[in-house]
């Protein structure tokens, strides 16, 4: 085991050499409109299909390249149902990730020099050599399963193959335990199916949509926002539950400014009204559901009057909104949300949302939740993976029992000796996720990293995590590489191609190449039995009745042979994939595991005097911390602000635009000050900030020290015992108007 503490290395010292390459590229066309017109007319501008990697929606588009071979713009593909020809600001600004001069440029290896740790630039072969020898050493001493993969994004697939070939099944993504996990488990144990991504919400046909803290429009989940906008044209009734006056709250017929952390009480009161005012879909419930009587008994006393005292939402508004939903049924969506790890009872809240949808008969119905179709892309033939001897489950025999994906924070915890469980993980390979911003409680993440024998970071940008790595591998951006076909589930089955529009800049390489080379170094080349992605893609596309040549021309293709029926037929008998074969309003599985079979409201801790609940969310022009340094997107928003209610600001004597530091309940102070935005749009008991700012890495020249990091403030985790979700909204902050540590001597 490593005894010396791992020093954080600022990548600036090693990477400075390659800085000056693209400075002029951004101004390429400035002031040359006439030349541009000529170029367009002459057809000298070329375009290449891609799908976006700036967020998980993966909209398909075209990368336009000018005569000199320089990338000019990215525009949506009109045939693609994820975007309908319209990319969101992040997709449009995606070229910024390519031109960002702060990109990772060369493989970097951690070395000790004069007692100080630093990165030195290395060749790819050297980097692979270091990684392979450390991986083999860990495998020999502890077993291959002691290396885990954290990944987020398309290229994670290649590293998944590598890990499986190596003998480890410990492959995880923060998107489960830090994001949508509770809703997938909650819906799965109600309907026997998950919500999927993109969500199977039929917004375009809905007559009513209820958003519980979900801020559509500030999160630019493209086709969802598009459908919502179309639905607004058609007069959809929007009901938004949010302590903050979100953008979509301003578009809603009903905004319910709920007291934070009480959503479950509101949901139960709605269920009460639907049942006791006999507004629910009786035929649907009788045909498809089980546990109705238990549910009815359970919510007997959960009246709107009961919920009023908890939520501060008036009983008549609770009733009125329940009637709005009922009037629209079954074309009504109580939206499952996406980032739902809030208070530790999130699976139960998601269950309540699922139950509400069941009572409204919206699952499997037009204007509710459709059944998605997905192209099944054949695997390029490869040898069988070895069976891992141990999995992460062996570390946690009694925890996270209903987690159906690997719990990222569980892997992190199990990398720290003596923290609740035996230490099992000695090496992390991290693909395209900045775990210091993605996992809550940075202190713990850093402690885990300090105990690793190997940390490999593969990314396009030198995210904060890279500073802790033993080896950093620079991936080229999505505009410079081939990737696997996109086959996300949608109303109709589609595939989309991503191909490079330019050669990789600097010494960066595509993810597939990196994984394949590393596999060969480890003697596992047989698991990557293709020469390059073109060979693999062409083989797969031919199996699907297309070809690489065709896809290069069209970018996306509909494959109707994979389509299935969107909705249930009238009076159709449906076998749900639950233990009872029915929609489970009462979950026996939950009961058997010691969890509430029907959701129960429990109060959560409230902020102490002088503290405010930290709520966080998205801005439409940024994704996670991933876009924090993108030149085009920082131009739209280059720091986050702290939303403070005017009453609170006046109590503190804080002015609009003033920079303050924030301190949380555990005494953690923000590394940087954050600008105050005094606004009526936030309740007096909470504050709000956009996630992903407060970068501590100086190599992010546009975003270093701009704004504050919400993740840094999230040290109190309310764990979801059902599936390991990390509830993050039980953190409270207070204000420091003077720089911490300042001393005045007079």
């Amino acid at each position: 085991m490593k005894t010396s503490r791992r020093e954080f290395i600022k990548i600036s010292s090693a990477g400075a050499a390659g800085l000056a390459i693209t400075g002029s590229a951004l101004k390429l066309f400035a002031g040359k409109d006439k030349e541009l017109e000529k170029l367009l007319k002459s057809g000298e501008v070329k375009r290449y299909p891609t799908y976006c990697e700036i967020c998980f929606w993966k909209c398909a588009g075209w990368t336009y390249v000018n005569k000199e071979g320089k990338i000019w713009k990215v525009v949506g593909n009109e045939e693609d149902p994820h975007c309908n020809g319209r990319l969101c600001p992040r997709g449009t600004g995606g070229i910024g990730s390519y031109y960002d001069e702060d990109r990772l440029k060369k493989p970097l290896i951690r070395v000790s020099k004069n007692g100080k740790q630093e990165f030195r630039e290395a060749t790819w072969d050297e980097a692979f050599e270091v990684i392979a020898s450390k991986m083999k050493k860990i495998a020999a001493e502890h077993g291959p399963e002691c290396i885990a993969l954290f990944n987020h994004g398309t290229g994670g697939k290649y590293f998944t193959t590598l890990m499986k070939a190596f003998g480890s099944g410990n492959i995880t993504a923060p998107s489960f335990a830090q994001c949508r996990g509770p809703r997938e488990v909650g819906f799965n144990y109600t309907f026997g199916e998950t919500v999927e991504s993109p969500e199977r919400t039929d917004i375009i046909n809905a007559r009513c949509m209820v958003l519980i803290g979900s801020h559509l429009g500030e999160n630019m989940h493209n086709s969802q926002v598009q459908e919502m906008s179309d639905a607004i044209d058609r007069g959809i009734t929007l009901i938004t539950v949010d302590p903050r006056y979100s953008t979509v709250a301003s578009k809603s017929k009903f905004w319910l400014p709920i007291k934070p952390a009480t959503d479950l009480a509101l949901l139960l009161a709605w269920i009460h009204v639907l049942i006791y005012d006999e507004l629910y879909d009786k035929e649907y419930i009788a045909r498809y559901a089980t546990g109705f009587e238990e549910l009815k008994e359970h919510v007997k006393d959960m009246t709107p009057e009961w919920a009023y005292g908890i939520t501060t939402i008036k009983p008549d508004i609770i009733r009125k909104t329940a009637y709005e939903m009922a009037n629209a049924k079954p074309s009504v969506i109580v939206h499952p949300g996406r980032h739902v790890t809030w208070y530790g009872d999130d699976t139960q809240r998601s269950r309540a949302i699922a139950i509400l949808n069941a009572l409204l008969g919206s699952w499997g119905r037009k204007g509710g939740f459709y059944h998605p179709s997905k192209v099944s892309v054949p695997d390029f033939p490869h040898p069988e993976f070895p069976q891992p001897k141990r999995t992460w489950r062996d570390v946690y025999p009694d925890k996270y029992l209903l987690a159906d994906e690997v719990v990222s924070t569980g892997i992190c915890d199990a990398s720290i000796p003596g923290l609740g469980s035996a230490c099992n993980f000695k090496g992390w390979i991290v693909y395209a996720t900045n775990l210091l911003a993605a996992l809550p409680d940075q202190r713990k993440t850093i402690e885990a990293i300090n105990n690793l024998d190997l940390l490999v970071v593969i990314d396009t940008m030198p995210a904060e995590l890279a500073g802790y790595a033993d080896v950093v591998l620079p991936e080229c951006t999505y505009l410079e590489r081939y990737d696997i076909l996109r086959n996300s589930p949608m109303k109709e089955a589609y595939i989309a191609l991503r191909m490079p529009a330019a050669e990789p800049m600097y010494d960066s390489k595509p993810g597939w190449w990196i994984a394949k080379q590393l596999a060969e170094k480890l003697g596992l080349g047989e698991y990557f039995p293709y020469k390059d992605m073109e060979e693999m893609l062409d083989w797969q596309l031919k199996q699907l009745g297309s070809s690489l040549e065709e896809m290069k021309k069209i970018g996306v293709k509909k494959l109707p042979q994979f389509n299935s029926k969107l909705y249930f037929e009238e009076n159709e008998d449906v076998e749900f994939n639950t233990p009872s074969g029915k929609i489970e309003l009462y979950s026996q599985v939950f009961a058997d595991h010691g969890f509430d079979p029907i959701p129960v409201y429990q109060p959560h801790p409230e902020p102490p005097e002088g503290y405010y609940r930290l709520n966080y969310g998205r801005a439409p022009m940024h994704t996670f911390s991933r876009t924090a340094n993108n030149p085009n997107l920082t131009d739209l928003m280059d720091e986050n602000t702290l939303w403070v209610n005017p009453r609170v600001a006046s109590e503190w004597g804080i002015e609009n635009g003033q920079y303050i530091w924030i301190k949380n309940q555990d005494g953690v102070v923000s590394s940087f000050p954050i600008k105050v935005r005094i606004t009526e749009r936030i309740r007096w008991d909470s504050v709000f900030m956009v996630h992903g700012f407060g970068q501590t890495n100086k190599y992010y020249t546009r975003s270093y020290g701009r704004g504050a990091s919400d993740t840094q403030m999230i040290t109190n985790i309310m764990e979801d015992k059902i599936m390991g979700g990390t509830g993050m909204r039980g953190n409270f902050v207070t204000f420091l108007t003077e720089k911490p540590g300042k001393e005045v001597v007079s």
């Binding site: 002031g31 541009l36 525009v75 070229i95 006056y245 953008t247 439409p620 022009m621 009526e680």
Partner: protein, 177 residues
């Protein structure tokens, strides 16, 4: 022919996609923009309302910027599109001062720049980049003289307003309210 734009404040979510699409389409240098988003909030918690507007040059019928331009660089093209001929512009900034919408900026290359309604696209029958990209489809562009254009049709259906009508510039960006 009279080009105009209508923008639905009820649908706009203020995502700024119009801004970045304009920047990439027209190679507007980072740090400058030809269009921008304004959010106006009124009320006290919880009685609140927000109007979100994507703003740009209003391509006014009675355009002070064209009248005050000493070189004729600022001029009106067919369809009422107000343009600046870069090589004739001396960068004096009179037009910037005269614009009630603050729609013009000094380009680092020494001329004044602003929204062109994507003239280069419009002449080919395409929509301006901001209209084409908008995920909420809250923008409508077309010829007011054509009763069947998107913009004519929506203005017949909906209530609208213009910005700073008191300036008497006869602006051609209509905000649906």
């Amino acid at each position: 022919m009279r080009y105009a734009m209508a923008i639905d404040t009820k649908k706009c979510v203020g995502c700024s996609d119009c801004v970045v699409a304009c920047q990439t389409e027209n190679n507007v240098p980072i740090g400058y923009c030809r269009d921008w988003v304004v959010e106006v909030m009124n009320g006290t918690y919880p009685q609140l309302e927000i109007e979100i507007r994507s703003e740009r040059c209003n391509h006014c019928d009675n355009s002070p910027c064209v009248r005050c331009c000493p070189t004729g660089a600022s001029h009106i093209e067919e369809g009422g599109i107000v343009l600046v001929t870069h090589h004739r512009c001396i960068g004096c900034g009179a037009c910037i001062s005269s614009c009630p919408y603050d729609a013009r900026y000094s380009h680092p290359d020494g001329y004044v720049d602003k929204c062109t309604f994507c003239h280069h696209r419009v002449v080919k029958g395409e929509q301006p980049a901001c209209v084409a990209v908008c995920p909420t489809k809250c923008m409508y562009f077309g010829d007011l003289d054509d009763a069947n254009s998107d913009v004519s049709k929506i203005l017949k259906l909906r209530k609208y307003k213009t910005l700073a009508p008191e300036a008497g510039t006869k602006p051609q960006i209509y905000y649906l309210i």
